[in-house]
Amino acid sequence: MLKAGIASGFNFLWRDSGIEVPFNLTGYKPSDTILALLWTGIVNTLLVSAVSIVVATVIGFSVGLARLSHNWLLSAFATFYVEFVRNIPLLFFVLFWYFGVLAALPMPRASFGLFDVVFLNRRGLSIPTPQDVTGLRLALLATVVLIGAQVLLVRWAHARQARTGRDFPVWPVGAVVCGVLPVLAFVAAGLATSWDVPVLRGFNYRGGFVLVPEFVALFAALSTYTAGFIAEAVRGGILSVRQGQIDAALALGLSRGRVIRLVVIPQAMPVIIPPLTSQYLNLVKNSSFGAAIAYPEIVAVFMGSALVSTGQSIEIIAITLAIYLTLSLAVSLFMNWYNARHKLVTR
């Protein structure tokens, strides 16, 4: 390496990067250090992963349950969806969304609008941003407090039921405490906050925040693709609950809803969670596919741009791999802990 004239050591991290990153939440500028560039990449990776995980979970659970539906058409649709996404490479979907779908969208003047606050066009997805986050922070705080209250309530209800045998409607109350009230809090906070709404000025939208097409394409591909695998995990978990369990619960006179809540879900979740966690990990690792369409995540900005500009390949590769390995290790530690804990619970 010395012969090839390649510098070594990690000092390059504090050098000015001079690399432009078109999409960042960290306020990064090209005059910042390479370390700041790496941080921007990490934030972008986590951003697209987090949003995709939420959406993939929602789609995945819906499709997985739909596949088990007794409605033949619904389960056929779900099967079709799963077999479609699982048998095509993820890179295909990423390129398809980016070059096939988003590139075919109209120019800003003819955008698709949703309630006149969100606009989708060839330049990306324009969303409104709050000008003041105090209200939203309060709503978030309120939600956390409500969830804590619900946890305490559940404990109290369990204790009382064990002591006196009297039941407490934990679920309906929980739906209000953890579902309705937080939504109301956020709606109230949203109405009280002034929003910076994107407005068409000339040829483009001004104001708000623009999610670049790279982000939208990667997000769409990751969430729909991973949803197919999550759906299978959900289906497998629910099918692993023996029919006898359900029959026995029904024979005891429990309602269908209670059978699902008290018998099916508690037994299915321990089976679903390990594969679900590994799908989440896969999704985070797969966010590196963003490098193919120049979404500025870790691999694109660090293993790509920073490596080209500094030439310190060994250090850069080592850092990148270390980041992903730390993440994977953390997830597998969690999984071991979860499995060990679950093993003690079942007899």
């Binding site: 058409l73 048998n87 295909f92 096939g100 590769i317 791999l321 993440l327």
Partner: protein, 348 residues
């Protein structure tokens, strides 16, 4: 019949709403899709001007078909690719016959002889009298299959060894296997392909140049070997200890026990999981696009830049996507069928 339909589609009022809504959505999607794909599509012609309808322009695929299959492989030499493909298919078909005498030995011989022969035929030169075709010119579906097959041929045996190593009683071997497996499983494949294409030339002694394509094959093979190892481990764990103990009592050595008792049973159990890994390898080969190697998806992507065929994105994606889908779906169905057959054979 009507009774069944009613029960499966219109059991409750909500069901009826779902069914009707579903049918409506399916109709709204299917009709334009069929129109675009088939009815309004242009099938015959040679240039972009031949495509006048609103549908797909399959003329584009027709004009580019050779590239989609062979990449930039020189046209007069393409017969060599066909020969290699036919060779692999024939040998594979012959070996899958259950009543073939000496099947195991023949399979071993084929795995030793065939892959190098394939490389020599495709590459040419090296004293064969065939024209040199550098790997830079390989591409399209041929390259996808090459990457899958050769990375798979390395990953399969390596995965089995790693799985055995992970259960070894020697701490050092166990440690090395665990580190290898967890390392490659913990990082994204894209970084591994980068890693292989940047680091391999650096760590090789000067003078030895590892081919770009070989680097990609090695990178893919290592990652998939780690996943294969976990699939095989599942099979090994499912096997009762009594099998090994009985074999030890008979006085067999470690390798003979593995080869004659453990692996034949464990691999059979692990086969569905291994097929899944093979499918994911097939899908992962698309990532070589990152280091400018043009497999099927890469060629389709590159074809979009052709000024003579502007706006053919959908046609290219649908064609490439359909090939991937049929290949992966075929493999998973094969695996399911085999599993079923094995289970019934076992139950009898």
């Amino acid at each position: 019949m009507i009774q069944t339909l009613r029960r499966r589609l219109f059991a409750t009022p909500i069901d009826a709403v779902v069914t009707i809504l579903g049918l409506y959505i399916a109709w709204r999607i299917a009709v334009p899709l069929v129109h675009w794909l088939v009815l309004d599509a242009t099938w015959h012609g040679t240039t972009r001007e031949d495509c006048k309808g609103d549908g797909a322009c399959w003329v584009f695929i027709r004009a580019r078909f050779g590239q989609f299959m062979y990449g930039q492989y020189p046209v007069p030499e393409r017969w060599r690719v066909d020969v290699v493909a036919v060779l692999f298919v024939l040998v594979g078909a012959a070996l899958s016959r259950r009543n073939l005498p000496h099947r195991g030995r023949l399979a071993l011989a084929a795995t030793i002889v065939l892959p190098p022969l394939g490389v020599v035929l495709l590459h040419g030169a090296w004293g064969t009298g065939l024209r040199l075709v550098e790997t830079r010119e390989w591409g399209g579906l041929m390259l996808t299959l090459f990457l899958t097959l050769y990375a798979g041929l390395i990953a399969g045996p390596l995965g089995v060894l790693l799985a055995l190593g992970r259960r070894s009683r020697l701490p050092l071997i166990r440690f090395v296997s665990v580190v290898f497996i967890e390392f490659w499983r913990g990082v994204p494949i894209i970084t591994v392909i980068f890693l292989a294409s940047i680091l391999l030339p650096l760590i090789m002694p000067t003078g030895i140049d590892v081919d770009r394509l070989a680097r990609a094959v090695i990178g893919l093979a290592f990652v998939i070997a780690a996943y294969m190892a976990e699939a095989v481990r599942g099979g090994l764990q499912a096997l009762p200890d009594g099998q090994t103990e009985a074999a030890q009592a008979l006085g067999l050595g470690y390798w003979r026990i593995q080869r004659m008792i453990v692996l034949p049973q464990a691999l059979r159990i692990a086969l569905p999981a291994m097929t899944n890994e093979f499918i994911s390898l097939f899908k992962s080969t698309t990532l070589v696009l990152i280091v400018s190697i043009f497999d099927l998806l890469g060629i389709a992507q590159a074809a979009l830049a052709d000024p003579a065929w502007v706006g053919m994105n959908m046609e290219a994606y649908v064609f490439a996507g359909a090939i991937y889908w049929f290949a992966c779906f075929g493999m998973s169905q094969w695996s399911r069928l085999r599993e079923k057959r094995l289970r019934t054979a076992h139950d009898r």
